[in-house]
Structure formats: structure tokens, C-alpha cells
Amino acid sequence: MKGLAQLLFVLMLAPLASGETILVYADTIHTMAGDAIQDGYVLVRDGDIAAVGQADDYAPDGTETIMKAALVTPGLVDAHTCVGLAGHLNTKHDRDELDRGNPVQPHLRAIDAYNPHERLVEWVRGFGVTTVHTGHAPQALVSGQTMIVKTAGNRVEEATIKSVAMIACSMSDTAISGDNPGTRAKASAMLRQKLLDARHYVDKQSSTKNDDESDDSETDGSKRKRRDLELEALAGVLKGETPLLIHAHKARDIANALRLQEEFDIPIVLDGASESYMLMDDIKASGIPVFIHPTMIRPYGERENLSFETASKLIDADIPVAMQSGYESYVPRTRVVLYEAGMAAANGCDFNDALAMITITPAKILGIDDRVGSIEVGKDGDLALYDGDPFEWTTHCTGVVIDGKIVANTPR
């Protein structure tokens, strides 16, 4: 304690440029790293979590910006959305989540389409969502790439945590809604062929490189393989660096995704998965995580058999499962992942499991848990403040902090 005070004194002497310090007091802090803390505090300095613990254990020095809340959680992580590419107007002007020019377009980068000023980004942020895994919509066989961004920042580069997160695929009805592909079998064949092409491409690129080295023929253009952006994007999948995010709802479509993983030994994340409760043993054996459909997604078409209790069943089976706000082509243009986790909490999930689905679990699945997903010293200073149980419809989000900056403080 004394050491901390000395440290603070030293910091006070440091130039102001060192950044703002935010001190948050809360009746309950769900750190998602150990038990909840009652009557606790979180100190955020220079953009990162500097300390967390019992309020009595910290003596403020008067320089901190003080915030108070009934309950504090880590900044929420939306496991999968299209917000920022999908805009609120839903016109040509801001409908950048889907290009129908070709059924397989893994080279479409999310970073070239994400609008950090989109009103819906600010909207979800107001409810405590500080990190989103967003990108192209699950409406084509391979619609494009996804990325991970903070819900603040003036330029996409400022917001980006990971510019290429996954490749968005669909092995569901949405992949075969047009003529090409027209059936599930054709969709699988096209996807498999493309992955094989990518494997050949990877092999040739590496062998060409070897030739170049041995022949010292860098100037010999005929020997260089032409770069192919599509295959280059899928190369990351085959190397195990970039998961395929596979949208599937019906049990047979989920089974198709599992078969694809077995054939190519590639990382896969299941997206939607409303009938996953029918294949829990297989999913568990595969080690594939699930971004479960929003609890309140509309129950028709291939989603007709969805259950509000699927998330809790997957959690009980020890399958990694995170909650997503998903993709909406109409009204509402975006869901709020906090609400969807709340409905899971009201349908079989215990509170901590439901909260984990929008904090630490998606952070782990997305490979960003070194930065976000829990309140631990050294992680990004991302916090969400509430005036009660965050899942209750009538509770407000009273403050949001991203990278140590207060980005929202009007009750929502």
C-alpha cells in the first residue's frame, strides 16, 4: 500500500501526457478472473488496468476521475456481428457486409469496409460493448473476412485489434439461396475445391521460393507464381492461422462443417448452430468452439428448432460457447449482445456463465484474451458500468470505458 502511494506520487510528478487515470468504485465487480469483488475498485491508468481490489485498499490521490456504479464488468466482447459493415440506413450507402458478385470471396477484407463512425457502433457501445468481432455477413458460401475492433476510434486502424480474424462461410440455407451454388452438396464441393486450390497454391508458393533461392532467378518473372488474393486468404486457413467461421443451423449442416474440418484439419468456429444440441458429443470431440445464435433470433426456416436453452446445454457439456449479436438484414439492424446473453441467463445459464459468454470466453476463442475479456492488471482499460443486474431489461448501462477513456456516461 505504501509502495503504491509512492508510485502514485512519482506518477503525479510525471508529465500530464502520461494519460488520464480513472478510478471506478462499484458494489460488485465481476472481474471474470476469480470471484466477484464486493465493494471494490478498479484503477485504469494510461489506458490499461492498473489495479483492482477492495475499495478500502486504495487511497485516491485526488487526481483520478472517479466513477461509481452498482456493478462493473469487463468491457463486453461481441463474439460475432456485422455492425460497422452493416449500417443503420440499410441502403446501398451502408450495406457493405455482402457482395453477391461471386459465391466465394475470401479476399474481401473487413478492414476496407468497416466504418468506425457508423451509428450502430456507438449504439452497441452505449450498452457496454467495447470489442466486436465483425465482418462480412454469413449470407454466401464464402462472403469475406472478419476483423476484431474496439468500438471507439476515429480510423479503422485505431480501432483494430486484429485485421484478419476469420473467414466467414456459410454451409446453411443462406449459401444456397441463389443459383450458384444451388444445393448443399454443390456448396460443399465448391468449398472443398477452393481449399484444395489453396493448398496447391501454398505448396507452389513455397516450392517457387525454393527455386528462386537455388536458381538465384529473382528477375525471372516466368517462374514467380502470380499472387492470388483469394487463395492467399485461404492459405491462412490451411496454415491454421485463420479459422473458418462456418454458419450452420441444421444438424446436417453442422455435420458437414465437422466433416470439412476432419478432411482439411483446419481451425473452424461454428456460427449460429441452433441444432447443435443434437450433436453435442461430436462437437465436443472435434474441439470446435461455438458462437451460438442470438437467443432471440427469429425461429423460422432453418432456425425453426432453436431453443433458448442451447447455450446452457453447450456450457454444461464443456463446449466453448460465446454469444453473438449475429447478422440482421432488416429490423433491428443490429441486436445487442448483452440482451442476448441475458435471455440465456433467463433460460438455464447461470449468471457467471452467461456473462462469460460476452467477456472472457469470446476473448479466448478470438485469441485476444491477453488484452480484453477480464479485469486484470495489465489488460486494456475496458469497463462497462451498470446500475443493477446488467441482464435485467430495466437496468441501465451508466458508463463505458475503452482503453482508459470514458466513451459513454449517459444512462442507457
Binding site: G87, H88, L89, N90, T91, R119, L120, W123, V124, E275, Y277, M278, M296, R298, P299, Y300, R303, E304, N305, L306, S307, F308, E309, E328, Y330, V331, P332, R333, T334, R335, V336, Y339, G342, M343, A345, A346, N347, F391, E392, W393, T394, T395, H396, R412
Partner: protein, 437 residues
């Protein structure tokens, strides 16, 4: 509802002939929310013959030989009333008006309702007991709406609410803004939309004038015209217009036309209602509001805010909400006013918005919408506060009959989903024709 599937109707039939009070059922020790009166912490509800007999505090309760239910720890409130639903009209050939023209008041949605649609099962799982089933908003007028009770049904007649003249009750669906705008003969602009509607009502005025002039002389009466006949009902104040409208200027256009032709209108959706609340209040138009998670998704809804219900209520407007099912799911209808409370709506208005206010918009507030003696025994039993996300609907009763019971495996499937939950199924009386069990 395995057991009641066959036995409940028989039971009712048997008991109702054997004793005057055999149908009486007492619900005891519940927290009662009558809506039109103060909440009762330890209360009772007595029903008989499909009607509410009395509601009160357990201190005043006098026991009887009737069946009694211990409702300790439970909450009873009126059945929820949804003023705008599309349940049962999906699928090929479903819905109201077709693509032949923008104004089709002659179309009755009751001719298009599939009583086997799983949506009905989900609706009672959400505590709904009364719906206004509407044709869509892709027309200036897509047809007549149907007021229904969620009774056990084999045909649509089992659902319909009849008026004093034994005619099915309903309003007229109308819409403006972007949804009805498409290629001719549909309008391409807002100005054209209003012009087409005005001409239709002027034609209806002429038609009504011919009827009036005929003075009941059959030789002078005009030939029956279903389209003009329906619009004439609107002009005579016998049929309420339920009007889809989002944007502030579209809302004011509806009020302008309602003023010109002096028809009774309920404004539906009213995303921009918070911008023109005083004007709506001055016109005396009630509002059935939709609240979804985020604004936009369509141009006319970019102004949507959670506070719309609150702002309208403060201005003196009667406020209800609606599911617009499948736009939102009937199973969490309670969520919508709860989110409005998040933005300032007071609790009492939130309760009214789910029940009596919606009933009033359908001219049914003398029959439903509150727990009061002599009203229909339409109520819902909850395990907690209606505005908590954790609260479950345990039972739903319509006119003294239990139509949903969460402990029944079949009902539970529709309440939470699972294998087969999306399949159409004949509601409630699944096996009665087959004669087994």
C-alpha cells in the same frame, strides 16, 4: 397439454351441467395486478363460466366448494393484448392484399389465418390472450384486421371475437411511408400515396351518400361494393383504422387524413412519435408503439428511440405496445414496455400498455384488459415481476380455460423451443378428431 387435450372440453361440458358453481375456480394467495386498480400483495381471483367473478385481498376471501389453486409466490395479471400481430398469415398465399393494387379494404385477413401455425402456441406461452391480426404494410390498405382470442381452435371462427351483432370484429389496416411505395399501380411517392387514399375515401363518401339517399328503398340502394362498403364503415366510425406509420411527417399525414375524413385511427409503430408527441396528443390518436433493439434497418425507422412510449405518455397520448410478431417474438412481449421503462416510462403505464390500453384501441376494454368482475377470465400466472427478464409465464387462461401450462411438455416445447418447435401443429385439441386416448 396432454391431459386437457381431450379431457378438458369434456370435463367442462360435464361439470357445467351438473352444478352452477362447478366451473368456479379460485386462485388464492397470488400477488394480483388488476391494472385498473392497486396491486394486491396477498390476493384472490375467482372465475366462473369464463368470466371473472371477483378479485380482492385474501382478508376478504370467502371460501367455497369450488376448485382452488394455491398461487403463493405467483403473480396474476390480465392476459396480454397485442394490438398488432402477424401470426398465422405467413407462408405461400398467406397475408392480406395481393399485388394487384395499393388499396384493398375488401380483403379480410380472417380468410387467410392458419390456426395450426406454431406462432399461436408461442403467443400463449408469452401470456398473450388477445391479438389484432393484421395484414401487412406493403399496401396503402392491405385489408381488414381480425380481433381474436387465443382459444383452442380448429377453425378461425373459434378464434374470432364477435360484436353485439355477431359480426367478426376488426379494424382496417393502412400504411404510409416507404413500405407501400413500389411500381405502379402502387404509389411511388408520399404525395401520391395520400392522393390515392383521399380519392378512395371520397369515393366511399359518395357511396355512403347513395345509401343515405336511398333511405332504405332497395331499388335505390347502390350495388354492394366490398371495397367501398368497408371504407364506409370506417367513415361511419364503425371500423377503426390501424395505421402503420413511422416518420414524423408520415404520422402527421395520417392525422391530416383522419381529420379530413373524420375517421378513428390508431397509430402503429410511430418510431418518430417522440418528435410529434404534442400533435398526436392534440389529435387524440392513441399509439401502439414498437420498440426494437436498435434504430434503422429501414429508412423510416432510423429515428426509433426507446423513449418514444414515455414521451407520448407524458404528452397525454394513450400508449400500447405490439409484437408485430414475427418482427418481435410474442414470448417476450413483456420485454418491450420493460425496455421503455428503461427510458423513463412509469410502471403503471407500462402495465396498462400491455393490457387495458391495447384493449381500448380495439374497443374491447369493456370485456378484457383488466382483472375486474364480469370481464372475461383472460389472465396469466407468472412466477415473478412482469418486467423482470427472469420471470416465466407459468399458465395462460382464456375465458376460464387454461390454454398454456409450462409444466406440460408439449407447451414447454413451444415456450423455449427445441426439436419440432417450429412445426405447425393443430393447437390444443390435437387428437380430438382421431378419437384415441
Amino acid at each position: 397439454m396432454h391431459l386437457p387435450c381431450l379431457t378438458l372440453p369434456l370435463l367442462i361440458a360435464l361439470l357445467s351441467t351438473s352444478s352452477v358453481h362447478a366451473d368456479r375456480q379460485d386462485f388464492l394467495h397470488a400477488r394480483i395486478i388488476p391494472v385498473t386498480g392497486p396491486e394486491i400483495e396477498d390476493g384472490y381471483l375467482i372465475i366462473d363460466d369464463g368470466k371473472i367473478v371477483s378479485v380482492g385481498s385474501m382478508n376478504e376471501y370467502q371460501s367455497s366448494s369450488g376448485m382452488s389453486h394455491d398461487c403463493t409466490g405467483k403473480t396474476i395479471m390480465p392476459g396480454l393484448v397485442c394490438t398488432h400481430s402477424h401470426i398465422g398469415i405467413q407462408g405461400p398465399g398467406g397475408g392480406g392484399g395481393d399485388g394487384s393494387g395499393p388499396i384493398q379494404p375488401e380483403v379480410r385477413i380472417l380468410d387467410s389465418i392458419d390456426v395450426e401455425n406454431a406462432g399461436f402456441r408461442r403467443a400463449v406461452a408469452g401470456g398473450l390472450t388477445c391479438l389484432n391480426i393484421m395484414p401487412g404494410s406493403g399496401h396503402l390498405s392491405s385489408g381488414q384486421t381480425a380481433y381474436v382470442k387465443l382459444r383452442p381452435a380448429k377453425r378461425v371462427e373459434d378464434l374470432l371475437i364477435m360484436d353485439d351483432n355477431d359480426r367478426p370484429m376488426g379494424g382496417l389496416k393502412m400504411a404510409n411511408g416507404t413500405n407501400p411505395q413500389r411500381d405502379a399501380p402502387f404509389p411511388g411517392t408520399r404525395g401520391k400515396s395520400a392522393a390515392l387514399v383521399r380519392q378512395a375515401f371520397i369515393d366511399a363518401q359518395d357511396y355512403q351518400q347513395q345509401i343515405d339517399d336511398a333511405a332504405d328503398d332497395p331499388d335505390k340502394l347502390p350495388d354492394r361494393n366490398l371495397k367501398l362498403e368497408t371504407l364506409a364503415e370506417v367513415l361511419r366510425g364503425e371500423r377503426v383504422v390501424h395505421h402503420h406509420t413511422h416518420r414524423h411527417d408520415d404520422i402527421l399525414t395520417v392525422l391530416r387524413l383522419a381529420d379530413e375524413f373524420d375517421f378513428q385511427v390508431v397509430l402503429h409503430h410511430v418510431s418518430d412519435g417522440w418528435k410529434v408527441a404534442d400533435e398526436i396528443a392534440a389529435a387524440g390518436a392513441p399509439c401502439s408503439v414498437i420498440l426494437v433493439d436498435s434504430p434503422g434497418g429501414k429508412q423510416e425507422a432510423v429515428g426509433l428511440e426507446y423513449r418514444t412510449g414515455h414521451v407520448l405518455d407524458e404528452a397525454g397520448v394513450t400508449v400500447a405496445f405490439h409484437t408485430d410478431d414475427l418482427i418481435t417474438d410474442s414470448r417476450w412481449f413483456r420485454r418491450m414496455p420493460a425496455l421503455a421503462m428503461r427510458a423513463g416510462l412509469d410502471r403503471q403505464t407500462a402495465l396498462e400498455s400491455l393490457t387495458i390500453n391495447g384493449a381500448a384501441m380495439m374497443d374491447l376494454d369493456d370485456r378484457i384488459g383488466s382483472l375486474e368482475a364480469e370481464k372475461d377470465a383472460d389472465f396469466v400466472i407468472l412466477d415473478g415481476d412482469p418486467f423482470s427478464i427472469y420471470t416465466k409465464t407459468l399458465e395462460t387462461w382464456v375465458e376460464g380455460r387454461k390454454v398454456f401450462d409450462l409444466t406440460d411438455p408439449g407447451d414447454h416445447l413451444y415456450a423455449v423451443g427445441g426439436p419440432g418447435a417450429g412445426q405447425p401443429e393443430r393447437p390444443y385439441l390435437c387428437c380430438i378428431d382421431e378419437g384415441h386416448e
